[in-house]
């Protein structure tokens, strides 16, 4: 392997480590929310610093590779994608910390039935699965899997769009549940953002592997352009 290939391979491993950490943060935040486990929520908040450190380290590594190796073609695209994936992962890390922070600050736990009726748990699972699959797509440079993320993000969008209605029903059923219901709405909004960040990551994977730019395309157009 050339020195640049070694650097890129090391950077890829580092991004995957960050990915695994962010995924774990998201899972733990969910667990803390469902179990109302404040200790676990605090752990998520503490580990958020590690996510931030990863972001800084990856930014610095990319900067060094640009400066020292003058990458071109697929190497250049990989580095540009790595920078953006890094930012997207850090934001997902922020979302996990945001969910955990509520658990730490709240005095009332969630009604599991409400979590189900609003599809929040289903949405959460799908958001985590999407994040896992974007990682697999990145590791295997699998653009078919990356493209599948776009459609799956639509599922999260649908739950998010329906959220005002489902949350209103929870509030109507029990007015005292309003604070938690509004928090659930906030979590749904956050998970919708996880879907968006994952979609951005999928676009970066396709850009890196195939040199195709799918950003800012309508979903039908993205499908056509992506499959060219």
């Amino acid at each position: 392997m050339t020195p640049l290939e070694n650097e890129i391979s090391a950077l890829k491993k580092e991004l995957i480590s960050m990915w695994i950490l962010v995924q774990s943060q998201l899972n733990k935040a969910k667990e803390a929310m469902v179990q109302f486990d404040k200790d676990l929520a605090r752990e998520v908040l503490i580990k958020e610093k590690r996510v931030n450190s990863f972001e800084l380290k990856i930014d610095r590594d990319c900067e060094n590779i640009f400066a020292l190796h003058c990458p071109v073609a697929i190497d250049l695209r990989f580095l540009l994608a790595a920078l953006k994936i890094n930012t997207n992962l850090e934001r997902i890390g922020d979302i996990a910390a945001g969910i955990a922070l509520y658990v730490v600050e709240s005095s009332v736990n969630f009604d599991v039935k409400a979590l189900e009726s609003t599809s929040l748990l289903r949405m959460y699972e799908e958001a985590v699965n999407i994040l896992i699959d974007t990682r697999t797509a990145f590791e295997k440079e699998d653009t078919v899997l990356a493209r599948s993320i776009f459609k799956r993000d639509d599922v999260l969008d649908a739950i998010n769009e329906n959220a005002p209605t489902t949350i209103a029903e929870v509030i109507k059923a029990d007015l005292d549940s309003m604070p938690e219901a509004l928090y659930m709405l906030s979590v749904i909004r956050k998970l919708e953002r996880v879907g968006d960040q994952s979609k951005n990551i999928a676009e970066e994977i396709i850009f890196y592997v195939e040199a195709k730019i799918l950003k800012h395309l309508e979903s039908s157009q993205r499908k056509i352009e992506g499959e060219k």
């Binding site: 640049l4 290939e5 071109v72 073609a73």
Partner: protein
């Protein structure tokens, strides 16, 4: 086409039985900087030397196919005239060691027996040295020998010598490989200025230089023109795997 200065169609070149340029077809537009790159022995310099009929100066070297300057077949033109219209600058600066800076610039006229009035010669010298970004540095020492100059200045003197003949195209064969970074930078800056009046074709092993200075890049491999595209496209998303492997250093 008016804007195509050099065009090749299924052009081939040989050294004896060695087929070094294979079926090359390309269209080079006016006032562009073209970088030609590829591994050693890929035929890029041979192709360059065919464009101004220098290839045939080597015993046993031949060319076949269409190679045109505008609408004229280069291989049916007078080779001396071809070299007026298509100048060349080489890897190592090669000013005539016994001639002054002034005489180096007008050497093309003198060596070909072309009579030029003294006032016109003065004009040619000043204009060519100015175009080669050398006038201010040498205007007070025009009658010193060319070899008195630094390497970078000597290379710019060679460029001035090529410009003096008012060519359409200037060919550069690794023009900065013998220069230090500062001289390289000044020659690269010159490319940007020269392209306003000339078409430049540059063979280079320095890929970053190709990326910095050229509008389009041609990649040669084993005598074939593998890819010819906008430089931005070539260095971000080349279409051919061989190009990608070469520019990313994964060539085996």
């Amino acid at each position: 086409m008016e804007h195509t200065v050099i065009s090749a169609s299924k052009f081939n070149a040989w050294f004896g039985d060695n087929h070094v340029v294979k079926d090359v077809s390309i269209g080079i537009e006016k006032n562009q900087v073209i970088a030609v790159m590829g591994p050693s022995g890929c035929g890029k310099t041979t192709f360059l030397r065919c464009i101004n009929r220098m290839h045939e100066l080597i015993p046993g070297a031949t060319g076949k196919g269409s190679l045109k300057l505008y609408d004229d077949e280069i291989y049916t033109m007078n080779p001396i005239y071809v070299r007026y219209k298509i100048g060349m600058v080489f890897q190592r600066p090669n000013p005539f060691p016994n001639l002054s800076i002034y005489d180096n610039v007008v050497a093309g006229y003198k060596l070909n027996g072309l009579k030029v009035a003294k006032a016109d010669q003065d004009n040619i010298v000043q204009k060519s040295l100015t175009s080669a970004a050398l006038w201010n540095e040498v205007k007070d020492s025009l009658h010193k020998k060319g070899t008195f100059l630094s390497g970078g200045q000597q290379q710019r003197l060679c460029i001035a010598r090529a410009i003096a003949m008012e060519p359409e195209v200037i060919l550069f064969d690794e023009p900065t490989s013998a220069l230090d970074p500062i001289s390289t930078s000044s020659v690269e800056q010159l490319f940007h200025e020269l392209k306003e009046n000339y078409t430049l074709i540059i063979v280079t092993h320095n890929m970053q230089q190709a990326a910095r200075v050229s509008d389009k890049t041609a990649f040669f491999y084993m005598g074939e023109l593998v890819e010819f595209d906008d430089t931005k496209q070539m260095f971000t998303a080349p279409k051919d795997t061989r190009t990608q492997n070469y520019i990313t250093g994964r060539f085996s």
